[in-house]
């Protein structure tokens, strides 16, 4: 499996990574090597095997739908790069 520069560019956009053009070439090579390496899984017969999503043999526990935490917006916002009036601030989204 070989990934070209354009595919990497597309992936970088999906992952919201603003990568410089010269890095894309290098990454295309690295990612192609990695994908070639993992291709060996194609040799394994997995017919009828259920995909394993978790090793924990348990049902997801449930709890009552009640508020158990919160009420301290200032602590929640304490690490925000920019906050005002109890909100996170971002560049203008709607014109």
């Amino acid at each position: 499996m070989s990934l070209d520069k354009n595919t990497v560019k597309k992936l970088a956009n999906l992952a919201r990574l603003d990568l410089p053009d010269d890095e894309l070439d290098h990454l295309a090579g690295e990612l192609s090597n990695i994908m070639t390496f993992v291709e060996q899984l194609g040799q394994v017969n997995t017919d009828g095997v259920a995909p394993m999503t978790s090793v924990a043999h348990m049902n997801l526990p449930r709890r009552a739908d009640e508020v158990t935490d919160g009420g301290y917006p200032e602590r929640v916002l304490a690490n925000a790069p920019e906050a005002m009036d109890g909100f996170y601030l971002v560049p203008k989204v709607v014109e």
Binding site: L17, E30, L31, V38, M52, T53, P81
Partner: protein
């Protein structure tokens, strides 16, 4: 090097209980050791004031007879565990200014047990790496040196390299680690210490910066098997805040170390002896088998047929989960921000600037294998092979009680001695990854030295939630191997 820093946790507990030493004395000695060994770069953040405060509290509790199991024991906390009011970086630039408003369950459990936090230990960025070279705060150095050339700086392994280096260099009596594909066991092997990855679900993941959530598990790193048992006792336990935390009884781990392994069946998987395995590692393994045999256990050759597919499986599953987990770093709610004209530009610039090379690479791989059109071919396929790998172990445990393998294919390598190919670096994890995929408990303990005088570890793997047997066998192997070597500058 003071005598106090050479004590094991078990020895220090006895002296503290008898009043022969105080927690303050013990902590001061470790703070001095931490300051003296700054060239190892083992800590991202040192917290001597917190340490002294907790030590004083421990002394009071000890006097009152109300001391917890780790009262007054100075520990390093991997900088992946959120610590209230203390910067937690995951060794990433993107979290360089993050001060958690809460404490992870594991570090909180340790605190409740009276442990003293010396500081936050360095790691590979977001725990992604096997060398500690991907930390945004510079590489961690191992205290060990090669016989032939003491000028070469060696890596401590990773991702819990700061923890391993600190424990090995007698800066901390123990440290927390996390293991996703070998991040506790591999650095433990490289640094000549004990590293225990518990069963998935044994320790809460709440408040631990997530890498690959179906694999991540916290565990202790110490200088003896008994110490690992004691530390695990304090760290483990059911936590409703982690939905994958197992609600199972907590046994007395140290009590499980009875010293008697007569009649136990020890699996020796033939797939862990690939062509080209170094003769040194082969001998280490054979010696370990003989030691267990001499103690009355019976080695049994077993087969784990899907072993050779474990790395490829891991390098689909882990990056997939990583790309999802790390989507949260957006420059809006916490961590660093690089301004942009639009929200999308802010995201993309922040993430490109904040994440290092290895992390970016894994995010891209994860994005690729989860993308439309490739999801089934890669991700679902890997999950199916993962099921087969887990099934291999389940079948093996029908006939054996525990499995013995080498921890790593080699001793520690030097800084900059690896080539740029990520796949070569991943081969470090070839013996540790399968058990991670299956969620099994595993321990690495030092049992010998390489021709260069560097520590080499053996790994014991157990059934799910059977850390007791793992610890019991590890205790016997530890006594038989009688590993006494110490890193440069440490004399016992």
């Amino acid at each position: 090097m003071s005598e106090l820093t050479n004590l094991t946790i078990a020895e220090a507990r006895a002296k503290l209980a008898k009043g022969e030493i105080s927690a303050v004395e013990l902590t001061e000695a470790h703070i001095l050791a931490m300051e003296a060994a700054r060239d190892l770069n083992a800590f991202v953040t040192e917290t001597p004031e917190i340490a002294m405060e907790r030590a004083s509290e421990a002394d009071v509790a000890l006097k009152k007879g109300e001391a917890g199991i780790l009262a007054g024991i100075p520990l390093g906390i991997k900088d992946l565990f959120c610590t209230e009011g203390v910067r937690t970086t995951a060794s990433s630039k993107i979290l360089c200014n993050f001060i958690p408003p809460y404490e992870s369950t594991v570090s909180s459990n340790l605190k409740k047990a009276g442990a003293v936090m010396l500081g936050k230990t360095s790691l590979d960025e977001f725990a992604m790496g096997s060398s500690n070279m991907t930390s945004a705060f510079g590489p961690v150095i191992s205290p060990w040196k090669r016989k032939s050339n003491s000028n070469v700086q060696l890596v401590p392994g990773g991702s819990s390299g700061g923890s391993a280096s600190a424990v090995s260099a007698r800066i901390a009596m123990g440290a927390t680690g996390t293991d996703t594909g070998g991040s506790i066991r591999q650095p433990a092997s490289f640094c000549g210490i004990v590293g225990l990855k518990p069963t998935y679900g044994r320790c809460s993941r709440w408040g631990v910066v997530a890498f690959a959530s179906s694999l991540d598990q916290a565990g202790p790193m110490t200088r003896s098997v008994k110490d690992a048992a004691l530390m695990l006792q304090a760290m483990a336990g059911h936590d409703p805040k982690d939905s994958t935390s197992a609600n199972v009884p907590l046994p007395d781990f140290a009590a499980a170390m009875t010293g008697d392994i007569r009649g136990l069946k020890v699996g020796i998987p033939r797939e862990y002896r690939p062509d080209g395995l170094s003769p040194e590692i082969q001998k280490l393994w054979d010696d370990g088998i003989e030691m267990l045999k001499a103690a009355g256990a019976a080695p049994v050759e077993i087969s784990l047929p899907h072993t050779k597919y474990a790395l490829a499986t891991y390098y689909i599953v882990a990056p997939a989960e990583c790309s999802s987990n790390l989507a949260r770093y957006d420059g809006v709610r916490y961590g660093m921000r690089v301004e942009g004209k639009t929200l999308d530009e802010l995201y993309a610039k922040t993430r490109a600037e904040g994440f290092g090379r290895e992390v970016r690479r894994r995010i891209l791989i994860g994005t690729y294998v989860l993308s439309a059109g490739y999801y089934d071919a890669y991700y679902t396929k890997a999950q199916k092979v993962r099921a087969l790998i887990a099934e291999d172990f389940r079948k093996a445990y029908e006939t054996v009680d525990v499995i013995l393998t080498p921890t790593c294919p080699s001793a520690a390598f030097g800084l900059g001695e690896t080539d740029d190919d990520p796949v070569t670096m991943w081969l470090n994890d070839v013996f540790t990854v399968p058990a991670s995929l299956a969620g099994l408990p595993g321990i690495s303990l030092p049992t010998g030295l390489s021709s260069e005088g560097l520590p080499l570890g053996l790994q014991l793997l157990g059934r799910p939630f059977d850390e007791e047997t793992v610890l019991r066998v590890a205790g016997v192997l530890e006594s038989a191997a009688d590993f006494k070597a110490t890193p440069t500058g440490v004399e016992i």
